[in-house]
Symmetry: D2
Subunit: 354 residues, 4 copies
């Protein structure tokens, strides 16, 4: 009943070992296996990771396969399913988890596929979603609730990172410090507020992002270049420090200051990725404090996705100020440049239907 | 009914800012307040901390009050109680928790006095137990079960450190790596075995301690100078690495290798105190792994003490090989030198009654 | 510096084995021991328990000591402290935990004094606070933050029951069913909302209380006499049922229906006290469901108290509609009758100063 | 490379609505779908559930489909796989999880397929393993480690029930009461011992099973008909009661006595299935106690299976005395009668290869 699929498509690809991403107009449409699903992408979010690949930083050079189609945040319509697919149907509006586990290891078989050692990541290890079509395994498909608009469905992946961090730490009734309010940090502010956090403190170097964090529910905002902020953060929290640290900057100094501010017995959830080893004062930062530190990777499959859906449907999240730009797919580079300039927070690319 | 208390007593004290500890014969017997208890010490354990103070290392110089009586592990008899003491009686055989909380802060009032920010530690901040008498607040007293012998009751404090670490991490049915099998690491081996650990792996530089760890229940022992041990540790644990890391060495390299070996989704409990900042590869060591890291300080009051008592009474702990020497108090320095020489593991000092 | 204490005082007492409570004008002011504190009560809340004692139901007859001064929810000023009291001072504004543990048992020594087997309860086992003065052990005193008004400080005890239930169950991001919205159930609604609950469903027989619950943040209200409500509750929660049940009615039918509605894998926290054994279909209600059931007693000392303080200071609780009446102490019986008539929710008694 | 499959096979079936099970010699071999696996059964365990179906009790009559092949505990060799199967290969020795989830609901997608509301159970809802061949979905297959003997691999399913119960309750260092030491209760004894339990107490009506429980590691055994045993159980556990209750009898009286014995703050894990509603004294059994009650259903997929494998490979489980009989498949009825007579504990049926 669906119209025939084309042979080729538009795709944004990493084809040369140098800064840049390139739009190709004749990329073959992916062929699906018996347990795979082909999705016609309608909207895709640009992630900080995509920007790293665009800028071709050290991490990208060591990790990304040349020739890959990039992008991993999206929503679209199912246009084809493999012969053995039984839980997804053509026509469904879907997003997908971008961590593709091996399905056989202990993490994959115990509800922890997000930490599978052999995980492939969409848009890094396998062709991604900055294209007219993307294929994903049936197990990774997430049917999107009809009440959730496309531009939000397109960013379930980073929302899931923020949700995973907030829910793993446990913020209900506890004071929370978020170091770094970029895209995911800002999402964490509105999620933490909806999840019942007590006082929310944030740090960043950008006055604009700090102001936005306050608009989303943060109680106190600190410029992280003010070296005195950890002391002030303690003063704001009964002189004991915040009970929860959500580390979303990846900056060594912010990490160290976040630990210094953290309350004895507190919980630190680490999501930000430092580019180099970070020297920690383990006795004072973690051991004497009796702290709990949680490494956060991806999203729990699919506990985090249900949480994202539920919070969205509750109407208690405020994401409108975070999605600052909508651009057609072909203007992806303008989106990346807006992010580099600090003008854009989250950019959603729109893929015109055929 | 008890005989009159003397005015002065023997005490081992830190009286000069140089390496050494000195026996004083005319130290005043402590005066107790209305909520304090005076204990006639019968047995006291020498801790690594006491050795640091003896050696007068950088930490000791920055932390220890000159003129203090050292020692914090002991058992003895109550010889006097303050007017308002209602839960302890003269004649009881007791040990005591050495972390003296303020009693008023949130940690103290929520069962977490071990991480009170104003904690005083016996033998560091206040006069300790290498003496004929020691005073402690009533709240810190632990009545010792009659079936527990004195030389074990004297070392409840370090046993409690090991117990706290093992129980916080949760070893039941899980593979466990213990990096560093000094006194507390060895205690952790026998406790982890009794607490239901799966395979137990240990690392150390001392062949003697490694052999002792195996005698106490470790399945595999690695010389930590063999840089390949993390790979072998993974091979021993379904090629995924141990599920639990108990870090008891405080050595930066052991900490990094322990994290490298740890399974995705695993738990690391940190007890060992590095002398300097440790550079960690946070993405690979903690974040991508989805690891949980726990800082362990002291003992939970008094959950840990009940656990120590219960495990001891079960007969499932093997501590005999750990208490290698018993010496009279006046020979404390010989004990310290035996520890320095690697001949002694745990030394228990005996205090003759009057 | 404080004026001399009188010899006698006003007190509301249970002096005869029949329905009623009686105001006595010549009750001796309590004498404090060395570790006790005397508080001049300024405000006291009437609890459902006080009403049971007033009505002299089967439970009261079997449990309450004749001659006791009743009441256990209060705020007041410290007017005297025992010789050994060191953490409370004359003049402080305080409330107090009404569960007085033995201080020596395992629960008391592990931060679980609320479930001490030898617990004495203020106003039941020992003279309570419907009087000009009440004495409590120093350990039970809770200093009240200056930003918290008296009539709220007076009801920390039932707020603590609600808080303990909500926080033990864990409502952040989860759908919640509250069966029974009397005083504590209504408090649980506003707390659950502030603590980040998803959809909140409530049941009760009183239209007035159901309407109040909706005003406080409940999303859906069911008349519990409508036997179909569990099905509707499931329809409201993705056809799976609420993830959390807070049972606050003590009614056998509500308990059974609450379990029937509960989602597989859900959590039920039981606070309401049925007057008789309740027949449960354990396989379908709990076992096949993989449910977790938590018995909730009192308040955690003092974790719950800190939570109450923090939520109050956040400004996110709405308690104004719950405190419906303020009466002078001497009109306590009018307060009880207003409760019996369903006109009052929470009545706060005001004790005039001398 | 494998020899051709026959058209028909031996199978033990429930074909008539009356007590009994019947061996059929011409049952069609199951046809597999693209994601299913066909296993040639070599060994199968007889479960209490099979006995209920044989005896055709009220539960069976209301639940079991006439015409079904029974049995759900087994090990065998894969002889065929569907076209889309990618994680299982012909020739593998495998067992399988008997709970077949829908794969689409929240429990199934969050690692909790054992409590899927639409679960089908092997040998109850779909043809089981008392046959030469059984088909199961690929996702349910569990490859068996080569070091585990067939007769143990055949009983992973009930071992998993016991393991799930023990690990959910958390026995490490805690005193444990097991009410009912039938097959699964006995397995729980040896598992709890290996998992680090403190004192283990058991109750049953059978002196033989009580003696066996002691041989497997129980410290104290009570005849459950002695109404005084809960008091004695408390006496054995510091006069506070056991910290953990594993309820494996399904008998109302045992359940009530178990709760009465349980320590304040303790954990009860319920596995036994009462045939009728059980009247509980909720205030004293659960609420005042601050107890945690866990409903246990099936096995966690596949966390429990990994735990079973790890404990078996550790050599710390003693299952030899539990598997009392090995019989050829055709003698299944003798096995059932041995169980009825109390002569057999676990019977393993052997299926001769073709």
């Amino acid at each position: 009943m669906s119209k025939p699929l084309p042979e080729t498509m538009l795709a944004v690809r990493k084809t040369r070992s140098e800064p840049g991403l390139w739009l190709e107009r004749q990329t073959p449409v992916p062929r699906i296996g018996p347990r795979e699903v082909l999705v016609a992408v309608t909207h895709a979010g640009i992630c900080g990771t995509d920007r790293h690949i665009y800028e071709w930083d050290a991490w990208s050079r060591s990790r990304v396969l040349l020739g890959i189609t990039v992008g991993h945040e999206f929503v679209g319509r199912v246009v084809a399913v493999g012969d053995a697919v039984c839980r997804v149907a053509v026509g469904q509006r879907v997003s997908a988890e971008g961590h593709i586990g091996c399905g056989m290891c202990q993490p994959c078989r115990t509800g922890n596929g997000h930490i599978c050692e052999k995980v492939d990541i969409l848009g890094i290890d396998t062709d991604g979603c900055f294209a007219e079509f993307v294929k994903v395994p049936e197990e990774n498909i997430w049917p999107v609730h009809p009440d959730i608009p496309d531009e939000i469905a397109a960013i379930f992946d980073p929302l899931g990172n923020a949700m995973h961090t907030v829910m793993a730490a446990g913020v209900s009734g506890r004071s929370v410090l978020i170091t770094g309010v970029g895209i995911i940090g800002l999402m964490a502010v509105t999620i933490a507020r909806a999840a019942g956090a007590g006082k929310i403190l944030v740090t960043d170097v950008s006055p604009r992002r700090l102001a936005l964090a306050k608009a989303l529910g943060a109680d106190v905002a600190f410029d992280s270049r003010d070296g005195d902020w950890p002391r002030q953060a303690r003063a704001q929290t009964h002189n004991q420090g915040p009970e929860v640290l959500l580390e979303m900057s990846g900056h060594p100094q912010a990490i160290r200051q976040g630990f210094a501010a953290l309350r004895n017995g507190g919980t630190a959830a680490l999501l930000g990725l430092p580019a180099e080893p970070v020297a920690l004062d383990l006795p004072n930062d973690i051991i004497f404090k009796g702290a709990t530190v949680l490494g956060i990777n991806g999203r729990k499959m699919f506990e985090t996705w249900y949480q994202v859906e539920n919070f969205l449907l509750s109407g208690r999240l405020n994401l409108a100020p975070i999605v600052t730009h909508r651009l057609p797919l072909v203007e992806f580079e303008r989106g990346l440049k807006l992010m580099q300039a600090g003008e854009a927070i989250k950019v959603v690319l729109e893929v015109p239907g055929r």
